[in-house]
């Protein structure tokens, strides 16, 4: 039961990550969401770019709840974002920050949940840089892309993944 709920949440988080990435990537944040295998930081990472800055000063609003912890620099706590009206419906997220580092994202509202909209969501092309993936501890096992030539393979990410074994 618990496990099921966790899975559903992280599925929604990843789904919304793609939606939220629809605006130009001005300094995306690496998100580490819970892993279905119970291994934190090993799954569900994505680059989340704050939704468009048409709302007052970005998406993460003022309703902070939480405490500053430890003496280290950087804020900690839970922040609830403003509701953003996208073409596909309202989107609202809540993020958890520990010592300045984003540790969790919870989706409070997502357009796909109201009405099972069959329209295909248009967006800018999301970009997950290797730095962001590494920062989120996102494991990548293999890569799908346009067919590479034997020469093109040499400098590819897939080539690096193949070499990374043992």
């Amino acid at each position: 039961m618990m496990r099921r709920a966790v899975l559903a949440t992280s599925a929604t988080v990843a789904g919304i990550s793609l939606l939220l990435a629809l605006k130009p990537h001005n300094g995306g944040l690496a998100v580490a969401s819970g892993s279905p295998a119970g291994r934190s930081g090993d799954a569900g990472s994505a680059t989340v770019t704050p939704p468009e800055a048409s709302g007052p000063s970005g998406s993460v609003g003022p309703s902070k709840k939480g405490t500053k912890s430890g003496g280290k620099s950087g804020a900690s706590g839970t922040y609830t974002g403003n509701t953003i009206d996208t073409r596909y419906g309202p989107v609202q997220v809540q993020v958890t920050v520990a010592q300045g580092k984003l540790t969790g994202v919870k989706v409070l509202q997502t357009p796909s949940e109201n009405g099972r909209d069959r329209r295909l969501a248009a967006m800018s092309v999301p970009r997950l840089t290797q730095e962001a993936l590494a920062a989120g501890n996102a494991r990548i096992d293999t890569v799908s892309g346009a067919t590479y030539t034997s020469e093109g393979y040499i400098g590819s990410l897939q080539s690096a993944l193949d070499k990374a074994h043992a």
Partner: protein, 262 residues
């Protein structure tokens, strides 16, 4: 950081003008080792039979009329039959006779990769992944309790990804121009397809998923409605004007692979 790296045996095979990567996560046995050898031999055999670049291949001789279908290895008939099925499913956007020549290349690679995957599975490698030059067939898990995590290459930023698809028994195929230029021709116009830069399809069997991705890419913008109606298939696409779209079911694949949406 992982506490302990899962077992991993990787074999890289240069064949069919591209590179096949076999990644076995089941602990190795002599049977699996033999299956890897057999899979490699099989790919070289398939290349010898189906290469349109080799005048002595069965497919070249069949095209030239110097060989009959009956005289070909049975897999030739099998592949041509699959081509006919996909052509029907894609309303003629998939073709094995581009410009009137016999050329089932759009089917062969995905089909061969899935067949190689089946060889490994039958030999006991229940957890493995075959990457055929960017088209992926994964089985089982990547490690204890871990689904396979398949990155989708960003067409504009080499080395970066657009999304991560997660699943256990999953096929992911991408058609695009990022690596080789406009090499997918719309059979109806005879010209390179231009509406899309990249089309990734996700499903269960690579034979089907790869051929459908080729067909969908040739459709350009029309692929959007078409792919939305394909049962068991989800899509992520980048258009020529720099936008992206995905089918509504795709997020279920990008969230967690513990439960495939079927």
């Amino acid at each position: 950081m992982r506490e302990s790296a899962p077992a991993r045996e990787v074999r890289v095979v240069h064949v069919m003008g591209t590179v096949f990567s076999f990644d076995v996560r089941t602990p190795m046995t002599p049977e699996i080792d033999h299956a890897l050898d057999a899979a490699e031999d099989r790919l070289r055999h398939v290349d010898a039979v189906f290469s349109t670049y080799r005048p002595d291949s069965e497919i070249s001789r069949l095209a030239a009329g110097t060989l009959t279908l009956d005289a070909c290895p049975p897999e030739v008939g099998e592949v041509l039959e699959l081509c006919a099925e996909i052509a029907e499913e894609s309303d003629g956007r998939f073709t094995w006779t581009p410009g009137g020549r016999l050329d089932p290349s759009g089917m062969v690679k995905g089909w061969a990769a899935e067949a190689a995957s089946d060889l490994l599975f039958e030999a006991g490698a229940t957890d493995h992944c075959v990457n055929a030059g960017g088209d992926v067939q994964a089985r089982g898990s990547a490690g204890p309790g871990q689904a396979w995590r398949i990155g989708l290459a960003h067409p504009y930023h080499r080395g970066d990804l657009m999304a991560v698809v997660v699943g256990s028994d999953i096929a992911v195929a991408t058609s695009g121009t990022a690596e080789r230029g406009g090499h997918i021709v719309d059979p109806r116009t005879g010209r390179p397809a231009t509406g899309l830069v990249s089309l990734t399809l996700v499903g269960r069997h690579l034979t089907h998923v790869d051929a459908l991705a080729t067909a969908g890419f040739a459709m350009g913008d029309e692929a959007r409605d078409w792919v939305d109606g394909l049962p068991g298939i989800e899509a992520f696409a980048v258009t020529a004007d720099g936008r992206a779209w995905q089918t509504p079911g795709l997020p279920a694949w990008t969230g967690t692979g513990a439960a495939n949406p079927e």
